[in-house]
């Protein structure tokens, strides 16, 4: 395998990971504000279907993306309304919406399966694409990939370097304290749940219009759950989340390459790798193992390693806050 081949593989990994990156950013924003949107799998299916069909009818991919974002916002609004206004369990609402999105997308999309439609054209960035290695990897892609990459930086900057971002995190960490400092906690939660939902919707359309073109029954099934797991792996940080999404894509294409090279090994081993890896990753992140790992490291490395590896969910994640 020579260098060009490796570069082609890696640039396709980044392309494949771009919808996951967008979804992870959206869900990270939502969960940082204290709301779990568990409906990712259903939302992405509905958004992928809607995005494709609308783009097909209007012959304009961007209208498709808009429609998909709208679908994501509607699902998120239901979650936000159910948990904030009706004070119900977010996990239950999210799960039911997952089932509904799955069923509804196969019902509404049944006439549009396996037909060619519009998709996003490649758009290289003039000067930057000539940089060796980095050029073909990051700057010879299309707008959706650029959007995903910019979104990661933008989300991080917004959450950790701006005042509204601080309020967003405060609503998810200590809603009572935030409220007493004048933050409208539930208003903030509504806002970012819906914003996160819009991004998840865009991620769905990024599949059907960019990565896995077209629509088929259960087009993106399972990827929403992967995104939810990556949010945890990413420690509710967009940069680590994006890293996790790319790592996931890399493992998947590594499995494909290995499968081609060793056809005698059963397919099940390769198909299960991403899922087993996700469990292993959750295990690694959630257990005490990282604590132990940090404690055996040289003292000077402990602080940076702690910042790098240690994650904890937003303290008020999934809880209901009553403003009174």
């Amino acid at each position: 395998m020579n260098n060009t081949e490796l570069i082609i593989i890696f640039s396709s990994i980044i392309l494949q990971a771009s919808p996951l990156i967008i979804a992870v950013c959206g869900e990270t924003i939502t969960e940082r504000s204290g709301v779990i949107n568990l409906s990712l799998d259903g939302t992405m299916l509905m958004a992928a279907m809607t995005g494709f069909v609308v783009a097909l009818k209007s012959d304009n991919v961007w209208v498709g993306f808009l429609a998909a974002a709208g679908v994501g916002m509607i699902f998120a609004l239901i979650i936000a309304f159910g948990s904030i206004r009706l004070k119900q369990n977010q996990v239950a609402i999210g799960f039911v919406l997952t089932l509904l999105g799955d069923d509804l997308s196969s019902f509404l999309g049944q006439n549009y399966t396996r037909i060619p439609g519009p998709f996003i054209k490649k758009m290289a960035i003039p000067v930057l694409q000539d940089i060796p290695v980095l050029g073909p990897l990051f700057f010879d892609q299309n707008l959706v990939v650029y959007f995903a990459l910019v979104l990661v930086a933008l989300t991080w900057w917004f959450m950790f370097r701006t005042r509204p971002g601080l309020q967003l995190r405060a609503a998810g960490e200590r809603p009572a304290a935030a409220f007493s400092r004048g933050v409208g906690v539930n208003r903030v939660r509504y806002l970012y749940t819906i914003l996160g939902g819009a991004l998840v919707g865009i991620a769905g359309a990024a599949y059907s219009l960019n990565v896995k073109l077209g629509w088929s029954d259960g087009h993106t099934r399972g990827l929403g759950w992967i995104a939810l797991a990556i949010v945890i792996f990413g420690g509710w940080s967009p940069i680590r989340g994006a890293f996790g999404a790319i790592l996931f894509g890399a493992t998947k294409s590594l499995a494909t390459v290995l499968q081609r090279r060793y056809p005698e090994v059963s397919v099940v081993a390769f198909n299960s790798i991403p899922w087993i890896m996700m469990i292993a990753v959750l295990l690694l992140v959630s257990s005490q193992f990282t604590d132990w790992l940090i404690s055996v490291m040289p003292r000077r490395l402990q602080r940076p390693l702690h910042q790098l590896l240690k994650v904890s969910p937003p303290m008020a994640l999934g809880t209901i806050f009553e403003e009174d």
């Binding site: 568990l38 509904l100 019902f107 049944q110 469990i279 295990l283």
Partner: protein, 381 residues
């Protein structure tokens, strides 16, 4: 002093009890609109739905047969949810239980049925328990989110099932045939679960109802069941009270997965008499692993409430099949209708709980007021 009226008006109480059914009706109403758009007469469609579910002894038997796995899954879900573990791995546990039970049946084709049927039910239980137990262990020991781990385990179970059915367990005939349908050979006739009446109704339904009663007794009349519920209600308080919370989390997942695995075994020995796959889990399970969650919520997470809930859902599934055949609507309409019922029923459950909470706070307010006015009159005196 006047006694504060804490009673909800009788009309509202009736509405509250009937709420899940009203929700189902509302979902069917939305379905009717969809039917009109599909160019079908909704009245005729729903008549054929009712006919399909209850129209003849055979139809009723089919409904009960469909309700059986739903009931067992719902019972497993009840135990897990009551223990504070959100088990979404029903599909995977069902598949593992079914595959393991099929293996037992295929391995001893000449053994007597009275030996193999209980044995394979036991092995199915153990398989499901093992698969559920993994998630329980990871949650208890390493704090791994069980919603995500059970979903991942579902996918792994499906991959394993596909691989087993395409190669080692495939029916020998299919190996020669070009189509190579991924299914096992039919199990020996001696292993068929006994029929209760001359319809498709098999022993499994009776087993499921007995298990429902047993689960009720277990959760509400035994110490272990009490501890599971205590763990679910407040893990911290339970820990201070000396309950080994981790052990009970694992136990509730073992039992939950076990009952769902048993459902898989019963599906194999009572209905299909073989194992097959369409590449996803739903081909074999018919989404029972997910629908069982809805049935459990419908039955308000009570083992006995799950019995009528599963019957209603079974009726809906069987009737909808008949509706589809009679009206020539696309098959996807059924999944959409199913999804609608799920959303409406679970949604109504939210409203019910909200009402009861409102009523509680109202009652507390009036109580507080009456105490206040009493104190006031005392001061005046």
């Amino acid at each position: 002093m006047k006694a504060p009226s804490r009673q909800l008006s009788p009309l509202l109480r009736i509405v509250e009890i009937l709420l899940p059914f009203l929700a189902t009706l509302a979902a069917l109403l939305v379905g009717a609109v969809m039917l009109i758009f599909l160019g079908a007469n909704p009245f005729e469609a729903y008549r054929s739905l009712l006919e399909g579910a209850f129209g003849s002894p055979n139809a009723v038997a089919d409904t009960i047969v469909k309700a059986t796995p739903l009931l067992l899954v719902a019972l497993g879900i009840c135990i897990a949810f009551r223990g504070g573990v959100i088990n979404i791995g029903g599909e995977g546990q069902l598949v593992v239980g079914a595959v393991m039970a099929t293996m037992v049946g295929l391995s001893f084709p000449d053994a007597p049925g009275w030996l193999i049927i209980p044995l394979s039910a036991l092995v199915g239980f153990a398989g499901g328990a093992f698969w559920g137990g993994i998630a329980g262990f990871l949650k208890a020991q390493f704090n791994v989110n069980e919603i995500l781990s059970t979903i991942m385990l579902n996918q792994i179970a499906v991959q394993c099932m596909n691989d087993l059915l395409r190669c080692p367990m495939i029916e020998p005939v299919q190996l020669q045939a070009a189509s190579r349908i991924p299914q096992t050979a039919r199990l020996a006739q001696a292993f068929d679960l006994p029929r209760l009446v001359p319809t498709r109704l098999h022993l499994g339904a009776l087993i499921a109802v007995i298990v429902a009663v047993l689960v009720y007794i277990f959760l509400w009349r035994t110490v272990v069941g009490y501890r599971i519920r205590a763990t679910g209600l407040n893990p911290d308080a339970s820990r201070y009270a000396g309950i080994p919370v981790k052990r009970y989390i694992i136990l509730s997942m073992l039992l939950s997965g076990g009952l769902i695995g048993l459902a898989g075994a019963i599906q194999v020995f009572g209905v299909h008499h073989r194992m097959f796959t369409d590449g996803s889990a739903t081909g074999f399970t018919g989404s029972a692993g997910f629908n069982g969650i809805v049935v459990a919520l419908f039955g308000q997470l009570h083992p006995l409430g799950a019995i009528p809930a599963s019957f209603l859902f079974g009726a809906l599934l069987v009737g909808a099949n008949k509706l589809q055949r009679a009206m020539q609507v696309p098959a996807a309409f059924l999944t959409a209708l199913n999804g609608l019922v799920v959303v409406f029923v679970v949604g109504s459950e939210f409203w019910r709980r909200r009402w009861s909470r409102l009523r509680r706070t109202e009652a507390m307010d009036t109580a507080a007021q009456s105490i206040g006015s009493e104190a006031e009159s005392e001061v005046k005196a």
